[in-house]
């Protein structure tokens, strides 16, 4: 009986020790995050207060604390990428992230847990009339004990906010570039459309390119994507986003012959102004012409041979 009791206590002791040991083993876990929406565009006339929702989900394996940071950004390049600036956001004190009505600087999420947060922006009367571009970034704060040579990986995700404060001004922009190759052998035809927004507010131009052949017939119409062009920045406007590094509007016509004109119509806003510019390009299928010439030459040679044999047979 006493032996059984001793064995039971020993067993329990061993179980306790082993569970403690297991608890101290550092396990690697995956990290994952989703955010929706990826972008929020807000136009406000002060004074006012706006609230919009941000949904964040922990797709990782473990419960994780995510710090919330707000960073201002500016355009990087001409394809919609951004870079963070080192200056502080002037309206940072007017922005709050709320979790069930309470301002938070971090959020704790269980695996697969989704949380809806509120982005609350209070715009006072005396705010500087301007555009403010910033990201709300959620960064994991995972850590491990430093018992080995290791690098801790943290994961963050951003959602962008484009905030325009004040009455909408008349858009001011320059059509920096509308061009294509002067001579083409075949399609598709890539058009470069670059717009320089020299105004103080973001614009979202709407545009299309109408292509006509040498007889004046419309042979193609190309809708340009609605992209946001930040104040004082240039953006290339594509027709789709298949070529990310070189955004171009592509007329997906394969066979081309003759002189074509392409007319760009671009409205900077629903109320204008509208740019119109026409360019010309020439297309000629050299390869097909060469094939036809070769076939014609072969046909002539064969014809001559046949004629020669026919004449020989007669003589």
């Amino acid at each position: 009986m006493a032996n059984k009791l001793k064995a039971g206590i020993l067993y329990l002791f061993l179980c306790l020790i082993s569970s403690l040991c297991v608890a101290h083993i550092v396990n690697a876990a995956s990290l994952g995050l989703s955010v929706n929406p990826p972008i929020t565009v807000i136009n406000v006339i002060p004074p006012t207060s706006t609230t919009s929702q941000i949904s964040i989900q922990n797709n990782g394996d473990t419960q994780t604390v995510f710090q919330i940071q707000i960073k201002p950004f500016k355009a990087k390049g001409e394809n919609g990428e951004l870079e963070y600036s080192r200056e502080a956001l002037p309206i940072i004190k007017d922005i709050q992230i709320l979790d069930a009505g309470t301002p938070v600087e971090s959020v704790t999420l269980d695996p697969k847990q989704e949380k809806k947060l509120s982005l609350n922006i209070n715009i006072p009367q005396n705010i500087t009339i301007s555009d403010y571009y910033f990201s709300i970034i959620f960064i994991s704060t995972n850590s491990h004990s430093e018992e080995s040579n290791s690098t801790i990986n943290q994961l963050g995700i951003a959602t962008n906010v484009l905030l325009s404060v004040g009455q909408k001004e008349d858009p001011e922009a320059i059509l920096q570039d509308f061009s294509t190759k002067v001579f083409l052998e075949e399609g598709p035809v890539p058009f470069t459309v670059r717009v320089n927004n020299i105004g103080n507010q973001m614009i979202t131009p709407k545009g299309e390119i109408l292509i006509k052949n040498m007889f004046g017939q419309s042979v193609g119409r190309l809708s340009l994507s609605d992209v946001n062009i930040l104040a004082n920045s240039i953006r290339a406007i594509p027709s789709d986003f298949s070529d990310f590094s070189h955004p171009v509007a592509v007329w997906k016509e394969g066979f081309l012959l003759g002189l074509y004109s392409a007319t760009l119509s671009l409205s900077l806003s629903n109320d204008g102004p509208t740019f119109t510019r026409t360019i010309h390009f020439f297309a000629f299928p050299l390869q097909i012409l060469i094939i036809i010439v070769i076939i014609a030459i072969i046909a002539i040679i064969l014809k001559n041979r046949f004629d020669l044999y026919a004449n020989k047979d007669r003589t």
């Binding site: 876990a29 990201s135 994961l155």
Partner: protein, 246 residues
Amino acid sequence: MKLPFLFTLAILYLLLRVMTVNAQQPMSNGDYIIRTNSLNTVSESVSDLGYKANPTPTNLGPIISEGVNYKIMTGFENLKTTLSFSVSISSDIIDFGILSPTNPIIRTVDLSTNTQGTYGYSVIVFEDQPLTASSSGIKKTFIPDTTCDKGTCGVETSAVWTNALTYGFGYRCDDLISISCDNSFTQPNFYRHFPDIINNDDPQSIISAEGADNQQARISYKVNTSGNQSKGNYGNTVTYIGIPNF
């Protein structure tokens, strides 16, 4: 006699090619234009004995809410608003194990993205400090960030790093599933080092790509130490941030 016939055939071929209907363009004539880019209507299911056609409704953005003094638009034009922007990494820690001088150690982590709801995105990266031994009471020592075999790589530019006598800590990025690692990694064995926030470096973009479903890249960390490297447990933190384009 046959030559005019051949030319006629060639001209007919050319005319047919010109007259080919290109279904990817909007349909139009002088009286109408049909553009299908944003057509977003839903009809009832249509069925017969041999088929059933279900409608495919989409929630295309942006979602707009308006008040007296404000207007809020969420999501991108013509993209589904229900699609989240997602990033994940396969491990939250890279364990290099025991560092042996002149014996480079390479460890990898996979970075995945799901970005259909965006027009494009980038992933930026930075480290909080070089790999640093943090034994209390002892002067901090660190493994320097690599400058590669010829001392030419940095935070933006990569260079070849194969020499076992080149010491330091660096990384490279390889495309796994339709992702676009930075162009500086196109050649194998090209590495660069993480931007160091303590050193006032700016975070660097390692991936820039169009929005798409299920993309994946592999990040390889490489560390190599000299015989003079002080003993200790070296560590740092590397942060990846997924950023949708605007």
